[in-house]
């Protein structure tokens, strides 16, 4: 497809119907994610335990009346609406395992995960794009093969194993996130660059004698920018996915480790809040990515 063709595709992505569908998908994903989170908390073991039963000052009639009232209030639809309203104000309940408000736990750990995420994503994007560029632009078989082999080897190693290796060697962990991301970025970036590299517009410009740098900026990087931006969005989501195993195994006190500890302690309020927040983030990034893809 020519760069012009791609621009028109990009414009069609921004058509009102497409924007509306994307926005609706984003909202529906959050609502469904929220519903799943609320249902998990509502039906978690011990949720319905009625402490009134143990109160000797209450008559059986009062206990029965209070129990009936609680059942109405805690019906899933009502509970869901209350959960969403509280979540919208940043109140995700109290963690059972840590005995602290979930929002406080998240606030403390978010900056650690954000640092790992930002550096890992930027590193992965830079390394993956550089490798893709080297395998497409110079047209040298040795470079192409070396790039494909590096990417293939990194794709075959689970990110958590890579992180453990870096952890025991005391190397920076963001580099493990970047290397785990590299093959995913490389594959897509190479495919995008190859499309533009073989476009008739670039061949015509090359025949006119334009310099390599100008060719690359005008006929490859410029037109490919929307797709590369979409790739950056996907890279953030992929890097976020690798945070749970990496932080969990390498003892990094971030959101990923919190999720794993929450799972091992069966802390459903914490897991539900994390699930809802991550769903919102992923849905948002994917929506933005879809607009530019």
């Amino acid at each position: 497809m020519t760069p012009v063709g791609r621009e028109s595709t990009f414009a069609s992505r921004l058509a009102p119907g497409r924007l509306a569908l994307g926005f609706l998908t984003f909202i529906a994903t959050i609502l469904i994610g929220g519903f799943a989170a609320a249902a998990l908390v509502r039906y978690s073991p011990g949720f319905d335990v009625d402490e009134d039963v143990l109160n000797p000052h209450l008559s059986p009639a009062t206990i029965a009346a209070r129990h009936a009232q609680r059942e109405v209030e805690n019906g899933l639809p009502r509970f869901y609406l209350r959960y969403l309203a509280r979540a919208a104000h940043g109140d995700f309940g109290k963690s059972e395992a840590f005995n602290l408000p979930v929002s406080e736990l998240l606030r403390h750990r978010a900056s650690i995960s954000a640092g790992l995420l930002v550096r890992g994503t930027l590193g992965g994007l830079a390394l993956g794009s550089l490798l893709a560029w080297l395998s497409v632009w110079p047209r040298r078989l040795t470079l192409e093969l070396s790039a494909a082999a590096t990417s293939g080897l990194l794709l075959a190693i689970p990110p958590a194993v890579l992180a453990l290796f870096f952890f025991f060697r005391e190397w920076p962990l963001w580099l493990a996130v970047a290397l785990a991301l590299l093959p995913r970025v490389f594959g897509t970036a190479r495919s995008i660059l190859e499309d533009f590299y073989s476009s008739p517009a670039l061949l015509a410009a090359r025949a006119r004698g334009l310099g390599s740098a100008r060719l690359a900026i005008t006929y490859v990087l410029g037109p490919a920018a929307p797709q590369l931006a979409a790739l950056a969005g996907v890279a953030v989501v992929l890097a976020f996915g690798s945070l749970i195993p990496i932080e969990g195994l390498c003892d990094v006190p971030g959101i990923g480790q919190l999720a794993l500890k929450g799972a091992l302690a069966r802390d459903l309020p914490l897991l539900s809040a994390l699930g809802l927040i991550i769903t919102s983030l992923v849905a948002g990034v994917q929506w933005m990515g879809d607009l530019t893809r």
């Binding site: 569908l21 689970p158 453990l164 195994l249 091992l264 069966r266 992923v282």
Partner: protein, 265 residues
Amino acid sequence: MTRPATILLALVVVLGLAAPSLAPNPYDHQFRDMASASPQPGFPMGTDDLGRDRLSRLLYATRVSVLLAPSAATISVLLALLFSALAALPSRLVAWTLSLANGIFLSLPWIFLFIILRSKLSLNTDPLVSVTLTFALMGVAGWAIPGRAFTASIVEMKDAGWLLQARAAGLRPWRIATAHAWPHLWSLALAQFRILIPAYVLSEASLGLLGLGVADPMPSWGNLLRDLQHPDVVQANPWTLAPLALLVLVMICLESLTPSRKAAL
């Protein structure tokens, strides 16, 4: 590259399938006086910290991974075909709902579902139940990726010239679907199936390493990798790296046989 990869993969599959005959010991038998033993006659790869034979566990783990990753991929592809077939209907609402469902499934953080699943399972859950649930959930959660490709292909087919010609020639919808649309979808389904297998092998390995995959004592490549968390054990017995080496080898073979995503689409 394709032929050596196929031969190596076939060899690994045979090793996995023949695990009950080839394994010198049951995978869960504990030799209590031989805990953390180095390689020796009777235990060519040594034993783990619970005195279980490493070679036998690796052979059985290979069986779990080589059988269940393709099974999960089959579930994903079948579900994707089933849902995407709805895109053939003339209703725009159905197409829109399908696109919405696809977007939602691609956005949900599935690792949380595994975490929650494990937190719901009791500690003494039957290993067979945990292994089935893990891979079944992978299969169900993964339908949206091939689903997007199938839906796009079906929508494209609806506007194709050959379809109009077939309709004009008086062919019945069922005949058009089976004789003309299905062969195209079948090749796409095979490509998607091959793309999903390495993804599921790697997912199981990551989940197992975290203790969220197949439960002990059933071995899988994922839970065998947990030994890598103890560098002293790895240094004392380099055979603990064997599951990782086998996993990387199989992944490289699978990747070399996997069509590129672009070609698959």
